[in-house]
Amino acid sequence: MGRIEALVLLSTLTTSVLAAGSTRPRGVGPEFAKFYKSSDSFTCISNPSITLSPSQINDDYCDCPDGSDEPGTSACTYISTLSPPQPLTGSAPNSSVALPGFYCKNKGHLPSYIPHMYVNDGVCDYELCCDGSDEWEGVGGTKCEDKCKEIGKEWRKLDEIRQKSARAALKKKDELVKEAGELRFGVEKSIANLLVEIKTQEVMAAELQKVYEEAERRERGKVVKSPGKGSKVTILAGLAKTRVEELRNALTGVVSKRDALKEKVAKLEAILSTFKEEYNPNFNDEGVKRAVQSWENYAANKGSDADESAEDRDIESISKPDSESEGINWAEWETADEESDVEALYKIEEYLPASLRTWVHQKITDLRIMLIENGILADNANSGSESKTVTDARNSYNTVNDDLGIKKSSLADLQGDLTKDYGTDDIFRALKNTCVSKDSGEYEYELCWLDKTTQKSKKGGGNTGMGNFVRFDKLYVDEEVGADGKGLGQGERFVLMYENGQGCWNGPNRQTTVVLACAEKDEIWKVQEQEKCKYRMDVGSPTVCEKEVKVETANKDEL
């Protein structure tokens, strides 16, 4: 009877039509009353060609292929595509039924339909039929007293809470939307500010760059560097020494890392070989067996590892610090040689009178710069240390330029954030960096909005990642809604997909489908492992509340 839910709206019709109800045959809802009015004959609702005598209505025998002659009994329940086909009741077996169920008037509460399957089966199905009218025949001595008064009262009480909660949920949602809007506005404002700052800074950076370049140009022209005494060889030696030192440090670092890893591998191998010895093939776990097999293969190939001792010896000697007796004797190279004649030539200025010197110097510098710029002379500006002017100019430029880079990247981030999907109305922006958790017996679950889902077992062990947020989605669900209003209900629901969580032993990476339904506050209702390592979290949240809050009726709640 997949159509029960269609009658949800019934609650609204009830009072108006109910007046005529007293003469309807048992089990007929007011909207079908018109089919049962005639006292001469009855026509099957979906099969008008079949006419029955009124005595055949509710005589506990199914005459209509659509079951409409038995609104008050279970006689036509076999008419269903779920029942094994039989040629009974005419030529159209298993056609669908005309009535949504047995109509329980439920005076004092909301009327509802109960599946005909539940009629006279000896069970008082009060959740659907609080007046007990489904057991009118009293089979096997079944007595179902009318409980509508108390059930109705309780329901109205709960309904009031639900309505209130629904209103509050909407309000909460509005707040969230507002908050999200503010946050968005904040981001936009930051972007605007940044844009201005960047512009100013770009100008500044351009100026500083000019200054720096000029300083550098001048610097290049200097023939003689200030502190740089010594030949090219000694300079090279100095550089080489530093470099070697760096390499040596790096090597020792890598070696010790390798040793640590080796130790880890050994430990793991020990664990695995114990595992292989001690695992029990009768635990019937194919995954374990596969793991054992892979380990065996691995272990079998492992013997082929080359002997590393020679290599280790080399590394050891290499990593010893250089000294006179070992490695490179840097001292030998670092001592400056005699100045060469060529070098002396450059010092001609020193022999000139001061007045001439400035002029000559200027000319030589210009010439030299010209030569360098035309590629005739080698630029040796970098080969030695530079002047403070250049350093300062560069530093000023770099500082401004770096800051500019940072600003630009924040701008990109912010702009990215602005275009990122935060759901309808940007609402999840308001929940960014917040989490909800639930204690569900064996595990504690945590959902971090648009971030990740985790699980923590109370029986020990750390947190297990159940997935990282990847996208929004939609999912059709068909679930109960409890009396407390918790539950997904039926229809298309908003979904957050979390994927690529921690890998499962003998299974895929964990993933979580977070299905949202409207609720006053963020709350994980239920977590199920639908199949191995694929979880579904049913979550209540105001984020997905809709403006027109449906008034849930009792029958829907419980079906």
């Binding site: 506990d60 094994p84 089966d121 019937n284």
Partner: protein, 964 residues
């Protein structure tokens, strides 16, 4: 070669390959299929096969067993004497007392023991405290009746032999030849069964171990084999035997028993479950398609078992039937030790004088058990029903289960929490899929401690049970025999303090590993242990409600670190019997204890227990249901189910089923749908799945599969009255529920080996569920010239032979044989309990002779009140245009009361399939004197004419007639 790591789909092929290679080239190399022995690896199996080979190869072979005629006495239908076994060339003998009992039922029993051991006149090695006798208590667990001795049996003795005439009208004879000892069992003067025909009788008598001096090895000299023992016997497997890293101390040395049993003129043998293979057993030595190893019976937790194999499985019923045209006979080898059975078929009987019958094939079997007595029952038929009935008289008929137990069971390893259970329950209701029972595997317990609930995941078991009870549904929870060895666990504390666990060879409490880790095993051979066990199920001890029932798993017993995944054979049970002696009956004793416990959990609440067991022995049928263990989600395993279930059924244990959907692996949707269609015809119908598989409750599979599965389930529910009637029949005379062709048509040779189609009880329903992938039709074999009708649309089939029946995915090939009346309840409900007050539909399937008949048995479905007459048993007969309901019951003190409660349960309609043409135009019939409308549908397009009587309103429990 590491067989154990290959994907399961390749198992079979690999195993066949490996075993073939091994037998071809290196018989000594072990075929390592998981941890289970081949015959070559089991000392006594190897010895007895070798003994058989020697006998066959020796032209002048003469069995060294002679019954001394002067020892022979005859009294009250019992022949007693002593067999002398000559044990060496000096003519030394050992005395083997023999008793041949002729029972009132027409069965005969041959029991051979060893005198020295009866008297305790032997010495055990290793200072063992084990019992010295051969184990003689199997019957305490197995036999519940039928041992009354024949008053009419008469002996007539001659010099060389003696002949006892017995059985119905003195038609049976047992001719006992003295030297060498042999027995011929004849019916109507024709030999049917011969004992020791081939001279393979062998009872390894007790002997002391003589330590032989080890010859000193001279340097440089190659090791020479030990000098031959004077007798020429190979002692290598007599004493301590090692296998898979564990050593069996064998304090009694070699003690096996063996006998060859020839079925003269019989081409087919059935039975000796449990094996995955065809109903008609294969040869095991030579011959085309023969197995290489004997059929083995040694209850074991076999992981991912393979198809078509003589390998042992979880249960053992050493009961074999032989069948030829118009004759069925059987033997029951009552021995609980490890047992192997070799089967060969010989085209020409070596004694042409014994012929005079159609077939010239003899089936020669050779039985050997590791220890215990030779204790064999012989059934001479002549019908299959005679044999199963006689066997059931001894070991008991199948329990009449609670009615819910034959409805659908929804199981999974595991439903994770009480909320999960409730959720499945709600969803089944919501999707209008009927089910009666939801199951909990081991994870519900607190840390694998039975009788507890996990406080985190099952905080509210009572609330869960209450919700289920609302729609009359039940819960089955698993309780296994291994008790977690953990401080603070009350159950293990008591087990230890009261000393009720199985002991190791040294007499200390045995410790092994199973699901909970370190565990002890309750020893249900001990009456005190049973008493204690019963107490554990009281509501005060195990928090639950009356709608909780029990599943006993792992009771082979499964011990993860034991040899062949079970207990060491030298473990000691109550009375210091070695585990070796009792192994195969061990599982039964555990279920027995649980059955006792579940009878009356609270004073005054006496109800029929429901216990599912994995391990079983002859007699387990009295206590509950079995299933075929851990199968796999593939088509081969689906196909394997029916032969296994049918074989179990003819071996007295019909309440059997296979896991629907396959335990290991994820079934494709079509496989799952087909499996439900098949499962609807398993006497025990349960969907089950491994913990690593995807959820597969029927409402999860989507369209059209959910609809197809629900139809199959509803078909089962509609036919529950017929199923319950069939169970009742099985419970009173042992007739199987799924009846193979040879059983129904013992003259039709073409049907003897058929095991993929069957009749359901006495209903005339002939089913052949589809078990192959992608099939759109099946060929059903029709054994007679009766009319057959398609169950769903009344298409007619006529004439003997194979008929093609369309079978698209949504259709189950199911025919109704003419001549039957099938009771149904057509209204779907949430559970079988809620159908209790629903009216019946009677389907009259008119036979060729214009008649039909059927039966219905009804009771409250849960108590033992039926034993006091609280039941309805009706015979329906349609003849000469009149349908009559007659009482078949015997009035008891609760009969009237019960019938009164049922007075409002009526027949809502009578469907007549194959209605006479003459009814055309007829619009009413007289039902119990009143008019009821009749609707007639003429024959069209190959579909039979049918008619339906509307609301005859006759009560199901009363006498009435409907005149057409």
């Amino acid at each position: 070669m590491r067989v154990s790591s290959t994907p399961s789909s390749q198992w079979t092929a690999l195993f066949v390959l490996v075993s073939t290679l091994c037998t071809l080239f290196t018989p000594a190399v072990s075929v390592k299929y998981e941890n289970f022995k081949t015959c070559d690896q089991a000392g006594f199996c190897k010895r007895n096969r070798a003994y058989a080979d020697t006998a066959a190869a020796t032209s002048s072979w003469k069995a060294p067993y002679a019954l001394t005629s002067d020892s022979l006495s005859w009294k009250n239908g019992q022949l007693k004497g002593t067999i002398l076994k000559t044990i060496n060339t000096n003519g030394e003998t050992v005395r083997l007392p023999i008793t041949i009992s002729f029972l009132e039922s027409g069965s005969a029993r041959v029991t051979i023991d060893e005198e020295k051991r009866q008297k305790g006149d032997i010495e055990l090695r290793h200072n063992s405290i084990a019992r010295k006798e051969r184990y003689n208590e199997v019957e305490d667990w197995t036999i519940v009746g039928g041992l009354g001795l024949s008053k009419s049996a008469a002996e007539s003795r001659e010099a060389e032999k003696t002949t006892v005439t017995y059985g119905p009208e003195g038609k049976f004879e047992a001719v006992v030849t003295f030297a060498p000892f042999s027995v011929d069992f004849k019916r109507d003067h024709v030999t049917q069964i011969k004992f020791n025909d081939r001279g393979l009788l062998n009872m390894e008598h007790w002997r002391p171990k003589i330590e032989k001096p080890v010859p000193e090895k001279k340097e440089g000299e190659e090791e020479t084999p030990a000098p031959e023992v004077p007798s020429g016997e190979d002692e290598s497997t007599w004493w301590d035997e090692s296998y898979g890293g564990s050593t069996d101390s064998k304090p009694k040395g070699p003690e096996s028993v063996s006998l060859d049993i020839t079925f003269s003129g019989y081409d087919h043998v059935f039975g000796i479950p449990e094996h995955a293979g065809p109903l008609s057993l294969r040869e095991t030595r030579g011959g085309t398609g023969a197995h290489t190893d004997p059929y083995r019976l040694y209850n074991a937790d076999v992981f991912e078992y393979i198809m078509d194999s003589p390998m042992t499985l979880y249960g053992a019923i050493p009961f074999m039937q032989a069948h030829r045209k118009d004759s069925t006979v059987g033997v029951f080898w009552m021995n609980a030790a490890e047992t192997w059975i070799d089967i060969i078929k010989e085209k020409e009987a070596h004694n042409p004088l014994s012929l005079g019958i159609g077939s010239a094939t003899d089936t020669k079997t050779h039985w050997f058990s590791e220890s215990g007595l030779i204790d064999v029952f012989v059934f001479l038929g002549p019908t299959p029903k005679d044999v199963t009935k006689a066997y059931g008289e001894l070991t008991g008929y199948t329990q009449l289960p609670q009615e819910f137990a034959i409805a659908y069971h929804q199981c999974r390893w595991n439903y994770n929490s009480d909320e999960d259970v409730k959720d499945v329950d709600r969803k089944m209701s919501k999707h209008q899929i009927p089910y009666d029972v939801i199951w909990l595997d081991i994870e519900y317990t607190d840390d694998k401690q039975y009788f507890t609930w996990d406080p985190l995941t099952f905080p509210n078991p009572i609330g869960m049970l209450e919700q289920l009870d609302k729609s009359d549904r039940k819960l089955v929870a698993i309780i296994d025999p291994h008790i977690k060895n953990k401080d603070g666990y009350q159950v293990v504390k008591e087990l230890k303090e009261k000393d009720l666990a199985v002991h190791n060879k040294d007499g200390n409490i045995y410790e092994g590993w199973c699901w909970p880790g370190s565990s002890h095993w309750v020893d249900c051979f001990n009456p005190e242990a049973i008493k204690w066990w019963v107490g554990l199920f009281k509501y005060s001890a195990f928090k639950s409600l009356p709608n909780l029932f029990i599943w006993n798993d792992m009771n082979e017993p499964s011990v993860f670190n034991g040899p062949e995944t079970t207990m060491p054979k030298d473990n000691l049970h109550h009375g210091n019997w070695e585990h070796r002696d009792v192994h195969n009956v061990n599982g039964l004793t555990f279920v027995n204890a649980t059955y006792q416990a579940m009878l009356e959990r609270k004073k005054g609440e006496l109800r029929r227990p429901f216990v599912l067991t994995r391990s079983y022995y002859a007699g387990s049928q009295r206590m509950g249901a079995m299933w075929t263990g851990d199968n796999q989600a593939n088509w081969d395993h689906l196909a394997a189910g029916f032969p296994m279930i049918i074989n179990n059924g003819i071996a007295g244990f019909p309440f059997a089923g296979a896991d629907v959907g396959g335990f290991f692996g994820n079934p494709e949707k079509d496989l799952l749908a087909r499996w439900y269609q098949a499962g609807a015809f398993y006497p025990f119908f349960r969907g089950h799945a491994h913990i690593d598989t995807r959820r597969r409750e029927p409402y999860l599979v989507g369209d059209p599969y959910m609809g197809i599965i629900t139809q199959a389930l509803r078909l089962r529910y509609a036919l529950l009255p017929a199923w319950y009637t069939a169970f009742h029949e099985a419970s009173v005379d042992g007739t199987p529920i799924l009846r193979p062709h040879y059983f129904m048509y013992p003259s039709d040779e073409a049907g003897f080996a058929i095991d993929d189609q069957f009749f359901v009880g006495s209903t005339g329903l002939l089913a052949k569920p589809v078990v192959t992938e992608g099939a759109t039709s099946v060929d059903i074999y029709i054994p007679d010239n009766e009319l057959y009708y398609d169950y769903f649309d009344f298409t007619k089939y006529e004439g003997q032979g194979h008929k093609t029946v369309q079978a698209p995915l949504e259709k189950i090939p199911l025919l109704m044989q003419g001549g039957h009346i099938i009771p149904r309840k057509d209204r779907p409900r949430r559970s079988s309990g809620l159908m209790k007050w629903d009216p019946y539909t009677l389907v009259i399937v008119i036979g060729k002779d214009g008649t039909a008949s059927g039966e219905l048995y009804v009771d409250d479905g849960e108590t033992f009140d039926y034993e006091s007459g609280a039941y309805i048993r009706r015979a329906f007969e349609y003849k000469d245009g009149v349908l009559e309901s007659r009482n078949l019951g015997t009035k008891g003190k609760l009969t009237d009361k019960y019938v009164k409660t049922m007075k409002n349960v009526k027949v809502e309609r009578v469907i007549v399939v194959g209605a006479p043409k003459a009814w055309e135009g007829k619009s009413s019939v007289k039902a119990a004197g009143k008019d009821a409308a009749l609707e007639f549908h003429a024959e069209e397009a190959g579909k039979a004419a049918w008619a339906v009587v509307r609301r005859p309103q006759v009560a199901i429990g009363e006498d009435w007639k409907i005149g057409f």
